[in-house]
């Protein structure tokens, strides 16, 4: 396969993605049909290398798309600030009451700020989008596409989230760290935090994806998503750190994947985990990634077979 050919394929891929993301939902359907027919001609020639580049392009597209909404960004920034401010006021009031020992204000502020960052990275519409595609029947197109549906959503969402975290998250974090004079842990701790955060993101996106696939039997995606969100809020520690939970509930949370998405990585950042503990956390995270991968494969297999049966 020569270079020019590859270039051409990538360009088509690129236009297709632009069609996908720069157009509004009404236009979406027409555009995707055109893009898919264009694209289908290229299918046999797609190489692995091309595919990898495509994920990169996809991430960039979603990233750029967000830049168009500047006002929204400003409002969101103020809104996120308010969120952190509310949290900090609550912790302040609670600590003033004096019922809590061995937790200090700085720790609580760090927790709130880092949790807000993590939450920004975790935002996902995967379940809803997938539900939409099932309802409209677009999922049929995804079956013949040479790009993995799962990774397509992962990278699209990640691009969007990275944009938010880079442009507003880091700004908010920097100001908060200066304002409250928070300490930053050493480089090793930051590195371990980032690794476990990546695992956490994969875990949560996999859960969302699996839930999105359930829509195949449930018909409506928003409510399944609401349930997943509520479970996440309750058991992940994103809102209230798990050290405020009663012991029985805390050990219950250890059996669920959610705390490995938010609480555990943040605790690593705060330096609450010793070597043995964080190694264990990373292992369990890996375990959850594998479990969710298998679950999602199984669901997908069932869907595929039932679709093939239905199709004449």
């Amino acid at each position: 396969m020569n270079k020019n050919r590859l270039k051409q394929i990538l360009q088509t891929g690129n236009t297709m993605l632009q069609y996908l993301f720069l157009s509004y939902r009404e236009k979406f359907v027409q555009n995707i049909k055109k893009a898919v027919t264009d694209y289908d001609k290229m299918v046999p020639d797609i190489l692995n290398k091309g595919r990898k580049e495509m994920y990169w392009v996809l991430m960039k597209c979603c990233f750029r798309q967000q830049i168009q909404y500047k006002w929204n960004l400003l409002f969101q920034m103020i809104g996120d600030w308010l969120g952190i401010y509310i949290k900090i006021c609550i912790w302040q009031a609670i600590l003033n009451a004096g019922g809590i020992k061995n937790i200090n204000f700085e720790m609580m502020v760090s927790y709130s700020v880092i949790a807000a960052m993590v939450n920004g990275l975790l935002y996902s519409r995967i379940a809803e989008e997938l539900a939409d595609r099932f309802r409209t029947g677009m999922i049929a197109i995804d079956f013949i596409r040479p790009i993995s549906l799962k990774w397509y959503y992962f990278f699209g969402q990640l691009g969007e989230n990275l944009y938010h975290v880079l442009f507003e998250g880091f700004f908010i974090a920097a100001v908060s760290f200066l304002l409250w004079k928070l300490s930053v842990p050493g480089p090793e701790t930051v590195l371990i935090f980032l690794i476990s955060l990546c695992f956490g993101i994969i875990i949560l996106f996999s859960i969302q994806y699996a839930i999105g696939l359930l829509v195949f039997w449930m018909k409506d995606g928003t409510y399944t998503r609401m349930i997943a969100d509520a479970l996440f809020l309750l058991f992940s520690g994103i809102d209230i750190p798990l050290w405020f939970y009663p012991d029985w509930l805390k050990s219950f949370c250890d059996f669920l994947p959610f705390s490995y998405v938010a609480y555990k990585p943040i605790a690593i950042w705060l330096g609450m985990m010793e070597a043995k503990q964080w190694q264990k956390i990373l292992l369990i995270q890996l375990f959850w990634v594998l479990v969710l991968f298998i679950v999602e494969r199984l669901i997908w297999k069932r869907i595929q077979s039932s679709i093939e049966i239905q199709g004449g």
Binding site: F75, Q76, I78, L82, I94, G99, D220
Partner: protein, 264 residues
Amino acid sequence: MFGLYGAFAKVVFLTQLEYRGQYIMRMIAKILGWSSGFILLVILLKKVGPVAGWGLYEILLLYTFDVLSYSIAGTFFMGGFGKLPRLIRSGELDGILTKPVNPLIYLICTKVSAGYTSNYVMAGVIMGISLHKLGVSLSFYQVIWLILDIAGASLIQAAGFMVTTVPAFWFMKSDGLYRLFYKNLTCFLQYPLTIYHGGIRFLLTFILPYAFINFYPVQLFINKQEVMLSPLFLFLTPFVGAFVFFIAYRFWQKGLDAYQSTGS
């Protein structure tokens, strides 16, 4: 005339109940979604004790006022105003304007949502439990006043929806406004406003009167007096509600006028 609106609302409400499975699913999701907020609050306050002199049940009472009035306002206004940009874009709004009825009432009645019933039940039960635990027994007049307070609070919430979504007439895309000036600011209401900076209390009392949704009216029932100017504030909710709703209504009419004059 009134019967006509009632018939609209009834049909819409019943259609939503028709899909049993989906309705139950929706209820479960909503109950879980809203109760998770309650549960977190209980977990935290059981552990840390009173916050700024407000005990667990007093804060729960604040929360139920917020949830209940939000749900009442949501039942009637969320359907229409949440989708306002889409109604404008798809031209559905033009259809509404051609009908010989008041467009606002028509919009409300045809977009009534049945999704909040679980919230009424939940908030009602928790309100009952909190009042009981606090040893408050309501007299007949107090019950009437409670209902008036909830009505006023719902009107404030509804005005909040309207004022933040009506700019869609001018800008097309206004969900940023809605999120910041409605969603984010009402987050302050979960806890007593005394824990925030005085400026926030001023903002939420005089400029965007969300504090009248729960912070002031609740104090009347639990014998607290944490007010800014005068103890009269504890009684103002129904009046503030009527007033801001009137302003929101005028704003909606302005929006409609602007919309009609751009159409050829």
